[in-house]
C-alpha cells in the first residue's frame, strides 16, 4: 500500500486536539529549535508561544538553573553554550566549547556544568559563573546523553556510536565504570532515589536499567507495539516522575510515548503521538506530534510536554488521562523542551 503521508501530517492533527479543557497551568516552557536557530518561549497559561528568542547556530541541549533564572543553550554549530537570562533574554555569558550537544548542571549549586562535546569524544566540565573550563574527560565516540545523580556524586554519559553508558565520579571525574548497552544510547536519566539510571538505546529499541552501586544491568526494557515494526521504535528522551513511579519514554519515529512502571520496569501503555487512531483502545494512546525526542513535566507533574522533531510542535499530555490535550506549534525541528520550576 502506498500512502501520501507527507501531504496529510501536521495541520489536521493540531486542529483535532487544540483547545481541550484543562486545569489552569502557569509558568513558562522553552523549546530549542534545532533548525531555525531559536528558542520558543511558551506561556503555559495561554498554551502559546509568546516570544521567539534568536540564538546561535543549532540549539539542541538545554538546562535550567535551579531557580529557573538562567537557561543554558548548547549551540552545536556556533561552538558555544549561551547563558540566557529568562527574564530579559539577554545573553549573560558564553561558554566556548566545540560541538556541544547536551549539557547538565550539577545540583545543588548550579555547578559545575557537564558538557558532551559530540565531535571530539570528550566531556568537558565548566564553571558557569566564571565560564572557565575545569577539566575534560575522554569518552567513547559521540558522547550525547548526560546526567548527574540527584546527590551530585555520579555523572553518566552515553556514547552514541560506541554503545556505552560511562560513569564518572564527582569531583575527580574518575571513570568508575563503562557499561555496554544496545546500539546508539541517546539519553540517561537517574531515578530520583539515585539507585538506578535508565539509558535509552535508539537503535536497540530498548531502555537499560543500570544499578548505580554495582553498575550491573538490572533489566532491559523492550517495547512492542502492535502493527508497528520494531525498527521504528527508537527510544530517546526519558522523564521520570518524582515519586519514581512512572517513566515516560519518547519513542521517536514510533510517534508514541511509552509509559513505564519504574519499580517493575514494565511497559504499562503507549501514548500515541502523530496520528489519531480511532480504536477501542484509544484511551491507551495519546496524540502528539511526529517523532517526539524529549519531554519535560510541569512542576506539579500533571502535564508532560514533548518536543516533536518532525512536526515542529510541542504536545501537552495530561499525565492522569494519558492523552494529548493540546498542541503548540513552535520553530523548526524542536529538540528539547524544558519547563521553568515555578
Amino acid at each position: 500500500m502506498i500512502t501520501r503521508r507527507a501531504v496529510l501530517i501536521g495541520v489536521p492533527l493540531a486542529l483535532a486536539v487544540a483547545g481541550e479543557a484543562r486545569a489552569a497551568i502557569s509558568g513558562m516552557a522553552y523549546a530549542s529549535n534545532e533548525k531555525d536557530n531559536t528558542v520558543s518561549v511558551i506561556d503555559l497559561a495561554q498554551m502559546k508561544v509568546v516570544k521567539t528568542v534568536p540564538t546561535g547556530q543549532r540549539p539542541r541541549g538545554m538546562d535550567l538553573t535551579s531557580d529557573g533564572g538562567r537557561l543554558l543553550v548548547c549551540l552545536g554549530d556556533s561552538n558555544r553554550i549561551d547563558i540566557l537570562n529568562t527574564k530579559t533574554w539577554a545573553v549573560e555569558g558564553s561558554i566556548n566549547t566545540p560541538d556541544p550537544e547536551y549539557a547538565a548542571l550539577r545540583q545543588p549549586g548550579n555547578n559545575p556544568l557537564y558538557v558532551s562535546n559530540e565531535n571530539n569524544a570528550l566531556v568537558t566540565v565548566w564553571n558557569i559563573d566564571s565560564q572557565k573550563m575545569l577539566g575534560q574527560v575522554p569518552t567513547g565516540t559521540e558522547p550525547e546523553g548526560m546526567a548527574v545523580s540527584p546527590d551530585g556524586e555520579l555523572i553518566c554519559n552515553t556514547t552514541e556510536t560506541t554503545n556505552m553508558a560511562q560513569f564518572f565520579e564527582y569531583p575527580t571525574t574518575k571513570n568508575v565504570a563503562n557499561v555496554l548497552v544496545p546500539p546508539r544510547p541517546r539519553w540517561a536519566a537517574f531515578t530520583h532515589d539515585g539507585k538506578a539510571v535508565w539509558v535509552s538505546s535508539e537503535l536497540g529499541g530498548t531502555v537499560t536499567v543500570i544499578d548505580t552501586k554495582t553498575f550491573k544491568i538490572l533489566d532491559t526494557i523492550h517495547f512492542a507495539i502492535e502493527g508497528l515494526r520494531s525498527t521504528f521504535i527508537q527510544p530517546v528522551g526519558i522523564s521520570i516522575t518524582h515519586d519514581d513511579k512512572l517513566a515516560f519514554v519518547c519513542l521517536g519515529p514510533a510517534n508514541r510515548i511509552a509509559v513505564v512502571s519504574v519499580p517493575e520496569h514494565k511497559v504499562l501503555s503507549y501514548v500515541e503521538t502523530g496520528q489519531k487512531v480511532f480504536d477501542a483502545n484509544v484511551k491507551k494512546y495519546l496524540l502528539v506530534g511526529e517523532r517526539p525526542w524529549h519531554a519535560s513535566f510541569t512542576p506539579d507533574e500533571k502535564y508532560l510536554l514533548t518536543a516533536n522533531g518532525l512536526s515542529n510542535d510541542v504536545s501537552v499530555i495530561d499525565v492522569a488521562k494519558l492523552r494529548v490535550i493540546d498542541t503548540v506549534p513552535v520553530g523548526q525541528q524542536p529538540w528539547m523542551v524544558l519547563i521553568s520550576p515555578s
Binding site: 500500500m1 502506498i2 500512502t3 503521508r5 561552538n79 566545540p98 560541538d99 562535546n117 559530540e118 565531535n119 571530539n120 569524544a121 570528550l122 575534560q136 574527560v137 575522554p138 569518552t139 567513547g140 565516540t141 559521540e142 556514547t159 552514541e160 556510536t161 560506541t162 554503545n163 556505552m164 560511562q166 564518572f168 575527580t172 571525574t173 574518575k174 571513570n175 568508575v176 565504570a177 563503562n178 555496554l180 544496545p182 546500539p183 546508539r184 535508539e202 537503535l203 536497540g204 515494526r229 525498527t231 519515529p253
Partner: protein
C-alpha cells in the same frame, strides 16, 4: 606493492586539521598514544591492551569521471576504514581492546592474492577490500583456506551474493539490486512509473540494466523503451565539446514513447552525467546521474550523520564517499562485534556479527545487520541529487516486509540462489 601500517599510534581524528579541531585532535591523539593519559581514561591500566589488526587490500587506480569534483581521491575507501579504526579505539580504550589497520595498496596490474598472502602471513584474519568483483572472488577463495573473512566494500555485482556467493564474505557494499530497488521504490511512491532505460556498453552496465529491469517488474513500473549508448562521449575537454553534447544527447533521447523518468546505467562514467538538461523531452534523469541511489552522500546529515561527516572531513580533508562509508561500516562492524562479544578473536567476532543480536548504527536511521543467507549487509539506500543534497531515503513508506523493511531492498531470502552450508553461516 606498499605496506602501510596504520594503528592507534598514528591515527587520530584530526590528521593535521587547521582550526579548532586541531587542539582537541591532538589531545585525542595524545590519549590514544598514551603520552598524556588523564586519570579518568583507564580503569585497568596494568596490562598492555591487546590489538586486533584488520587488513585492507586497497585498489590503487585512477578513475576518469565526467564530473571533475567527483574524481575519487587516492585514499577513497581507505580513509573510511581509518576513521573507523579511530572510532573503534575510542571505545576500545574503555573496553581494553585496540584495533589497527594494515593496508596493502595494489595497482590494477598487481595481484591482489599476493597482497592478501602478506596480510595472512602476519596472522591477519579479517580483511577489507575495495577491489572489483573478479578479485573479490579470487580473494575469498584464497582466503577460505586460511579461515580469513573478506569484507567486500566495493563490488556491487549481485552474482557475488548469489550464484558465486561464498561463506567467508560479508558484503558491506549494497548490491545493484538493492540500489535499483531503492530508486524504484521512490519513483513508484512519486507515481512516476513509466521509465526509459539507457545503458552503456560495459559488462557492469549490462548487469546494472538487468537490475533495473528486475526492479521494474517487482515494483510494477513499465519500461516503455530501452536504449544503449554506444561510443565514448568524452568530448568535454575540447573547445566545442559542450556544443557537441547538447546536440548529441537530445538525439540519443529523441522519439521515445511518453515516459516519466529517464534511467541511466553507466558504471564507468561515460555518458550518464551528460544527460540531465539535455534530454529531448523535459524529463528527470535518475540512476547513474540525476537522482542517484547510493549507500552514502556527503550531505546526509540526518540520524546523527552530521557527526560522521564532520569527523571524516576533519580527518581526511575531503568529503566522505559511498566507498568510504562501505569501508567504515566493515571496520565498525568488526569493532562493534568485538565489544559486544568482548573478544578480539576473529571467530568470536564473526559469530556475533552473523548472529541475531548484531546491529550497527550507521547514520541511516535503521540499524545495519547481516543477511544470514548470503552475507549481504542490509542497509537503507540514500537517494542523492548527484551529491548536492539528499532527496530521500529508501525503503519508502508503504513498502512492507514480514522481517524488516530493509529486506524490501535487493534479493530476498525466498529468491536467493546462494547456498551456504550451516557451518558457513556461522
Amino acid at each position: 606493492m606498499e605496506t602501510n601500517q596504520s594503528s592507534a599510534e598514528n591515527l587520530a581524528y584530526a590528521k593535521s586539521g587547521p582550526g579548532r579541531r586541531t587542539v582537541l585532535g591532538a589531545f585525542a591523539a595524545a590519549v590514544a598514544s598514551g603520552t598524556a593519559r588523564p586519570a579518568a581514561a583507564q580503569t585497568t591500566p596494568t596490562s598492555p591492551t591487546p590489538t586486533l589488526t584488520i587488513g585492507y587490500v586497497h585498489w590503487l587506480h585512477e578513475v576518469d569521471t565526467i564530473s571533475y569534483i567527483f574524481t575519487p581521491a587516492p585514499d577513497n575507501g581507505r580513509a573510511g576504514a581509518e576513521v573507523a579504526i579511530v572510532d573503534n579505539n575510542t571505545t576500545g580504550r574503555f573496553m581494553h581492546q585496540n584495533f589497527a589497520l594494515d593496508t596493502v595498496e595494489v595497482r590494477t596490474d598487481q595481484d591482489p592474492v599476493a597482497a592478501l598472502n602478506t596480510l595472512v602471513a602476519k596472522g591477519i584474519r579479517l580483511v577489507v577490500t575495495d577491489r572489483p568483483a573478479p578479485d573479490v572472488l579470487k580473494l575469498s577463495d584464497a582466503a577460505a583456506a586460511h579461515g580469513v573473512t573478506i569484507f567486500n566494500a566495493g563490488a556491487a555485482e549481485d552474482a557475488l551474493r548469489e550464484e558465486d556467493c561464498r561463506g567467508n564474505v560479508i558484503h558491506t557494499a549494497p548490491s545493484f539490486n538493492m540500489l535499483t530497488d531503492g530508486l524504484a521504490q521512490y519513483l513508484i511512491w512519486k507515481r512516476w512509473p513509466r521509465w526509459v532505460l539507457t545503458y552503456g556498453e560495459n559488462s557492469q552496465d549490462l548487469l546494472l540494466a538487468a537490475a533495473y529491469r528486475r526492479s521494474a517488474k517487482i515494483f510494477g513500473a513499465h519500461l516503455v523503451a530501452e536504449r544503449q549508448y554506444k561510443g565514448k562521449a568524452g568530448s568535454r575537454e575540447t573547445d566545442t565539446g559542450l556544443i557537441e553534447l547538447q546536440e548529441q544527447l537530445p538525439v540519443f533521447t529523441q522519439n521515445l514513447p511518453d515516459y516519466d523518468v529517464l534511467l541511466c546505467a553507466d558504471t564507468q562514467s561515460v555518458f550518464a552525467a551528460y544527460l540531465p538538461y539535455r534530454t529531448w523531452d523535459a524529463r528527470p534523469v535518475a540512476g547513474s546521474a540525476g537522482l542517484i541511489p547510493t549507500s552514502w552522500d556527503p550531505n546526509s546529515l540526518e540520524f546523527g550523520g552530521r557527526q560522521m561527516q564532520d569527523r571524516f572531513v576533519a580527518y581526511a580533508h575531503r568529503f566522505m564517499t559511498a566507498l568510504d562509508m562501505n569501508a567504515w561500516v566493515a571496520v565498525r562492524m568488526i569493532g562493534t562485534a568485538a565489544s559486544y562479544a568482548q573478544s578480539l578473536e576473529p571467530d568470536k567476532i564473526m559469530a556475533y556479527m552473523r548472529g541475531p543480536d548484531f546491529q550497527l548504527g550507521a547514520y541511516r536511521g535503521l540499524s545495519l545487520s547481516v543477511r544470514d543467507w548470503n552475507g549481504q549487509v542490509r542497509q537503507a539506500i540514500i537517494l542523492s541529487d548527484s551529491g548536492r543534497c539528499v532527496v530521500s531515503m529508501s525503503p519508502q513508506p508503504g513498502f512492507l516486509h514480514q522481517r524488516t523493511v530493509l529486506d524490501t531492498l535487493g534479493t530476498d531470502k525466498p529468491e536467493t540462489t546462494c547456498k551456504l552450508t550451516t557451518a558457513q553461516k556461522g
